[in-house]
């Protein structure tokens, strides 16, 4: 091979005349995009359920904690208020 540049140009000038195959991929692309949106949604659905259940459990625990705290503090206060009488 004497001149790589010339040889490449010669082959390329002919190769450029070749026609690429006709494609019709619009339906395929839209279907693939729809699939990926659905996949994303199906991946998010269990996470949404877990988040919902977590919120429900957290609210229940908070309600129980508040009522328990109320009960605890009122008995503490009554206990403390008894102390001065006990001393006297």
């Amino acid at each position: 091979m004497k001149n790589t540049d010339e040889f490449l140009n010669k082959l390329a000038s002919r190769a450029r005349l070749e026609k690429a195959p006709e494609v019709d991929i619009a339906n395929g692309v839209l279907a693939a995009l729809r699939r990926s949106v659905e996949e994303e949604a199906s991946l998010l659905a269990p996470l949404a359920w877990i988040a919902g259940i977590s919120v429900a459990v957290a609210i229940t625990v908070a309600i129980f904690a508040l009522t328990a705290w109320d009960a605890l503090t009122s008995s503490l206060i009554s206990l403390i208020s008894e102390i001065p009488w006990g001393i006297l």
């Binding site: 091979m1 790589t4 490449l8 002919r14 494609v23 019709d24 990926s36």
Partner: protein, 208 residues
């Protein structure tokens, strides 16, 4: 969902582009369909695909001559286009932006193939005889196939630069834009790739 600032930017960029270059026949259709696609209109994106699929097919035919892979690559280009559509800035025609995405998708495909060592075999040709053969008598399909298999022997970077510079006939600046490299990088890579190709020719000549 794109903000108001994006649409204002699109509007002003569009007017400045129209003044600088009116050669892009589909420019207004593209801009209108891009806006609609960003608002979730699937039919608008279908129109974009239908308008540009043949152009992208031509680009991807350089990256794979296997009809199945080729079709998949064209699809991948439009899927990537859709996911990055909000990043498109209409300072240049949409086709230029699309060509950059197509080059990136094709290059990734070559790199994957190189990792899996799926390179086509080197054609056993009498290079000297072919060199003396008149260009007009070489069949375009044969020339394209030969070039494809020849360049496939090189690493993906060398293959990309020679494909863009020689097979597509792009300038250094255009090659740099498509590959996302600097102009100096393109020049250096071209020299290296040609040196490797010369070595390849010498090796096959010795074998013959």
């Amino acid at each position: 969902m794109p903000g108001l600032a994006y649409f204002i930017y699109m509007y002003f960029s569009m007017s400045s582009y129209e003044k600088s270059d009116s050669s892009s026949a589909h420019y207004n259709d593209d801009i209108s369909d891009i806006r609609k696609s960003l608002n979730g209109d699937g039919e608008a994106f279908r129109r974009i695909v239908e308008r540009h699929q043949q152009h992208v097919s031509g680009i991807m035919w350089r990256f794979s001559r296997d009809p199945h892979h080729h079709k998949e690559l064209v699809q991948d280009v439009f899927i990537e286009t859709y996911t990055s559509l909000a990043n498109y800035r209409p300072v240049a025609p949409f086709t230029h932006w699309l060509a950059r995405i197509a080059t990136r998708v094709g290059y990734k495909f070559w790199r994957r193939q190189a990792r899996e060592r799926k390179t086509p075999t080197l054609p056993i040709e009498d290079w000297d005889a072919l060199e003396n053969f008149p260009a007009s008598e070489i069949n375009p399909e044969y020339a394209a196939e030969l070039l494809y298999r020849l360049l496939a022997q090189l690493p993906p970077r060398d293959r990309l630069v020679l494909t863009l510079r020689y097979v597509d006939g792009h300038s250094v600046a255009k090659t740099a834009e498509l590959a996302g490299w600097t102009k100096i990088m393109v020049k250096v890579q071209t020299l290296r790739a040609k040196a490797k190709l010369r070595k390849l020719f010498e090796q096959t000549e010795k074998q013959q």
